[in-house]
Amino acid sequence: MTVTPAAGWHPDEPALQDYVDGHLTGLSAGSVEAHVLGCPRCRAALRTAVPASRLDRTRDLLEDRLDQAARPRPERGLARLGVDEADARALLAAPSLRLAWTLAVVAAALLGLLLAEAATRPDAVFLLVAPLLPLATTAVAFAPALDPAFAIVAATPYRTVRLLLARSLAVGLTSVVAVALAALALPDRDVTAVVWLLPAAALTLLVLVLAPQLGTAPAAAGVAAAWVALNGVLERRGLGMDWVEGAAAQGISAVLAAAALAALVHQWAGLDRGGRA
């Protein structure tokens, strides 16, 4: 809004000071404000009348508000949940994370479609494929090569391994939810819908343990191939996929997952550098 001041009229110094101090009200405040908006001379006079500290405070407040508004919604959501600013920013910044999430959703949707429409043995297909989904998406989130800024990020004091594991956890959990939704397409909602969880945890953690030595992609491909091969052998022996539901399979998976987790914690320090993509 531009207000052309009446020719020759300017508020006097005490009036400007009263305006700055907030002592003017109603019509007088309105007319001084309208005049100041259109009058460079009075704006210049006001500039010296307002204490610098107050201007600084106002600017800081404004910039804080703008910063808050500029932060992406998921980051603000995490901040509200009490997640540290650096963690939230680091967790959500990488495009690899979005790629992993997209992969999780698309793969789970395809799995659901396959179970509902095409598979002759939906339970067996589900038990074979479901553990591979968190494995694949976690590998995508964990691979430094898929984070274009990783070389810069790795040299900061922020713990790299914490970053990679946080991303893996975020993606892994999302995949579990996506697969659980896909399980709704199973003809019978029985124990099949949950028994895949422990093998999935074991396979995924195994990939994370092997990734620094072998590289993330070879580790993920190797573990996935081993899983498919194991099931191929058991299928030939007539065990189908039902073995996954057995106490032995569940027990072995739990032990394997715990061992892999322990190994991962042990590797913690070494993972911070020198880890291969």
Binding site: A86, R89, A93, A151, A154, P157
Partner: protein
Amino acid sequence: MTVQVRELRKRFGRTTALDGLTLDVGPGVTGLLGPNGAGKTTLLRVLATVLAPDSGSVRVLGRDPGDPKERTEIRRRLGYLPQEVGAYNGFSVREFVDYVAVLKEHTDRKARRAEVDRVIELVDLTGQAYTRIKTLSGGMRRRLGLATAYLGDPELLVLDEPAVGLDPHQRLRFREVVSADPRRTVLLSTHQTEDVAALCREVVVVNEGRVLFRGSPAELAASARGRVWRNDVRDPGADLAWVAGDGSTRQIGDPPAGVELVEPTVEDAYLVLVGAKALEPAAV
């Protein structure tokens, strides 16, 4: 000494990147010269604490990068520009620098804002502060990486080919910024011998994972005295020869008697050390 490296070795599969490299680097600008594959990037990655060597000892800023706690201490006082500056395309310049500042423990919002603005101004990207990274040129991306390296005014800067893609004006500005504080230790790799001659207190020539020369640029140039000459035709003793702008042939190698020797430049001396070697058939 800011950086002390002893008998450093690193292999990638069958390739030896560092072959018992030993080096000390102190305050001022030190230039790392060497052909592609000489081991420069591997050395800088080790010093930037993002790569563990196979063997040898490393001390950076008086600390051991092999120890997790000391490594974090080093990272607090280090600025690193990697060879490939990957950034998130969807971010603006300011958002990306702010992101790295958060990871570099600049937790106070007001101070961080001022620091982010300072480093963006330092690399002359203020006009592009709100530009998306995907629209930046290669040189601008390089400067963006340099801005993140300068966050927190680090004591040690490890810069992998910082001047690539910079136009002559930006190159001068880069020299000005990098040499501004003589107390800071800057270790930069480059292919540009003129950058080394103009900027560096010390130059280190690396080839095949080892140090071939360490000294001032003037000492490097002087090391090639008696090995550079000019003649009308290429002489049989020349390892390298090219026709200069004045029509004469500038030659490097073993000069024949009676030819006109010329004062060598840093580039001549670098070619004497590395260039001629590169032309030799590979040892079987």
